[in-house]
């Protein structure tokens, strides 16, 4: 780990704010911060990916989810599951500010797909083992970054602030792959809701449990931090009484409109599953 001052990032800001006085656990990586604060008696494991200019893997130096990050997330989530196997299950909170996955030749060779699968697996395992799992999106949540670190949670929360972005691919790449210009993508995002990069459009898909408005995502005040913590705690309480699974993201007013096709496909597939 570096002795230089850490690179600031939203992920680090919110990690430090929410960790309160809990000491960070040594992860062996400058790019993964983990701590176990206790909020009003509720034990929480916080995990966040942050930029590390000295990262061993050069393609993961700007806050990307790289090979080591995926496996390390899996390790630290599973570590909490094992530690709580015969005690009350602590909540697991993924703070999401991820510059997508790392793109590189070595990443391809060494199987970054499996590293991300391991992280997703660990979060899903925590969810089904009885740990409330919450993702708090404070910055960019791009592509594999969110699939591996957040999407397997019971509830997704996001700050309603500029720069909070959820998407399957960075704009420049998405434009190239779909043979469009960035301007065309922006224009399409206004009518085709799933293509939008803006978090308020994303909220219309019914995937978010809550969009927390009125927060300065870069420099939150003490009152704003308290509010975010209170909303996470409320989501944890909600999970403890009604955990559900990922399909609960279909059971809300927004999804009934924008995801009518998902609901219809599920209904009809079930109808036809057994031969008439």
């Amino acid at each position: 780990m570096s002795l230089r001052a850490p690179v600031s990032s939203r992920g680090r800001t919110w990690f430090e704010a929410l960790a309160e006085n809990a000491l960070p656990i040594n992860t062996g990586l400058g790019s993964l911060l983990v701590a176990d604060p206790t909020w009003e008696g509720e034990r929480v494991r916080l995990l966040v990916i942050v930029p590390d200019p000295q990262n061993h893997f050069p393609r993961a130096r700007h806050g990307e989810l790289g090979l080591e990050e995926g496996w390390a997330l899996a390790h630290h989530v599973r570590d909490a599951i094992a530690a709580d196997s015969s005690s009350p299950k602590r909540a697991i909170v993924a703070i999401v500010d991820v510059q997508s996955q790392a793109y590189g030749r070595l990443e391809a060779l060494l199987g970054i797909h499996l590293s991300l699968a391991a992280a997703a697996d660990a979060y899903a395992t925590a969810r089904t083992a009885g740990h409330p799992v919450v993702a708090l999106i404070v910055g960019t949540a791009l592509s594999g970054g969110l699939l591996a670190h957040g999407d397997q949670g019971h509830r997704l929360l996001a700050l309603g602030a500029p720069g909070v972005i959820v998407h399957a691919m960075r704009k420049a790449s998405a434009a190239r792959i779909t043979r469009r210009t960035v301007e065309e993508l922006d224009e399409l995002g206004k009518t085709v809701i799933p293509m939008a990069y803006d978090i308020r459009q994303f909220a219309k898909l019914g995937l978010l449990h809550e969009l927390i408005a009125g927060i300065d995502a870069d420099a939150p005040s003490a009152a704003q931090i308290a509010k975010v913590k209170e909303r996470i705690a409320a989501a944890i309480t909600d999970i403890r009484s009604n955990p559900g699974d990922l399909t609960s993201r279909l059971d809300n007013a927004e999804a009934k409109v924008t995801r009518a096709a998902s609901i219809e496909v599920r209904r009809r597939l079930a109808e036809q599953w057994n031969a008439p």
């Binding site: 893997f57 393609r59 080591e68 496996w71 390390a72 899996a74 599973r78 793109y103 590189g104 030749r105 070595l106 391809a108 060779l109 797909h113 499996l114 699968a117 391991a118 997703a120 697996d121 660990a122 899903a124 592509s143 594999g144 969110l146 699939l147 591996a148 999407d151 397997q152 998407h167 399957a168 691919m169 960075r170 790449s173 998405a174 190239r176 792959i177 779909t178 009518t191 085709v192 799933p194 293509m195 939008a196 898909l205 995937l207 699974d245 990922l246 399909t247 993201r249 924008t258 995801r259 009518a260 096709a261 998902s262 496909v265 599920r266 597939l269 079930a270 036809q272 599953w273 031969a275």
Partner: protein, 296 residues
């Protein structure tokens, strides 16, 4: 046809007959693949093209939808036992997962789990031929791919979930994560398995990092044989229906995996620790460093 045959590579009558008797999987479309894998006469498509599903997003973008949205869900028998094949059609939108196509897979996996929970065994097989999330339905495609991940993890406790990657598209993006979560994977040499498509790596990291046009390099990193030799998949078969059926059957018979690849966290962290990114191995070097069997 030429009669000149290189002396190091004699084409014997036996080899020629075997080649000619093969039934190519790569040349089939998704529906034919599902039909060919299932026992003869047992194929029954669930949500077939005459069900007239609605596609909310593609027509808004001037793209003509296909009636099955590029995924075929087929019930039937495999080696005499109930099975469900979820086959992605690579010829439609590069096999990209949109809201409807991904939901068909997620829902089929959920129904298979419900069957197991009611003591009705069923073997799930995924035919993965996909560029990943369909960018025209970006966030919804991704959200449903996350549902697919959750369902594979939930289902593989009951039964092996078998993934097959045939080529020529391969399996990329969020669906490569789905592949990583499967109990067992079968690949053809023509297949590729990787999170990031070569074009995206070139776009994001530059042509010096990866030239997306260099086929030899790309297959040496993520091709079927490379993935088999370094332990990322369980079986490598030639492009033949019979060989594929045999491989799927052999893996199904292994039963539920005691530890899935994506659960072997400490083993893979130890493997990763053997790599020096400043002196990175190439494909052949990695085969020596990371043999097929992952040591626990």
């Amino acid at each position: 046809m030429t009669s000149t045959i290189h002396s190091d590579n004699p084409i014997t009558k036996e080899r020629r007959d075997r080649f000619l008797s093969r039934q190519s999987v790569i040349e089939m479309r998704a529906r034919e693949r599902a039909r060919a894998l299932l026992d003869p006469g047992s194929f029954r498509e669930v949500l077939n093209p005459f069900d007239r599903l609605e596609f909310p997003w593609l027509p808004l973008q001037g793209i003509v939808p296909e009636s099955d949205d590029g995924v075929v869900v087929a019930r039937g028998q495999f080696a005499g036992k109930p099975a469900v094949i979820m086959a992605i059609e690579g010829a439609f939108q590069g096999g990209g997962m949109g809201e409807v196509s991904a939901t068909k897979i997620a829902a089929a996996l959920a129904l298979a789990r419900r069957d197991w929970e009611s003591s009705r065994p069923i073997l799930p097989v995924l035919l993965l031929e996909t560029g990943g999330v369909r960018l025209q339905e970006a966030n919804l495609g991704e959200a449903v791919v996350a549902e697919i991940h959750a369902e594979i993890i939930a289902l593989r406790r009951h039964t092996p979930v078998i993934g097959v990657i045939t080529g020529m598209i391969g399996c990329f993006g969020g669906m490569s994560i789905a592949a990583g979560l499967c109990s067992y994977l079968v690949v053809l040499p023509q297949a590729r398995l990787e999170l990031n498509g070569p074009e995206v790596i070139e776009q994001e990291a530059g042509i010096d990092e990866l030239n997306a046009g260099d086929k030899h390099l790309i297959w040496s990193l993520m091709g079927g044989e490379q993935r088999y030799e370094t332990g990322f998949v369980d079986a490598l078969v030639e492009d033949d229906v019979k060989a594929l059926r045999q491989a799927v059957q052999a893996l199904a018979e292994r039963g539920v995996r005691s530890r899935h690849r994506s659960e072997m966290v400490e083993e893979y962290r130890r493997r990763l620790a053997t790599i020096d990114p400043a002196a990175p191995p190439d494909g052949p070097a990695l085969r020596r460093m990371w043999p097929r069997e992952v040591k626990s």
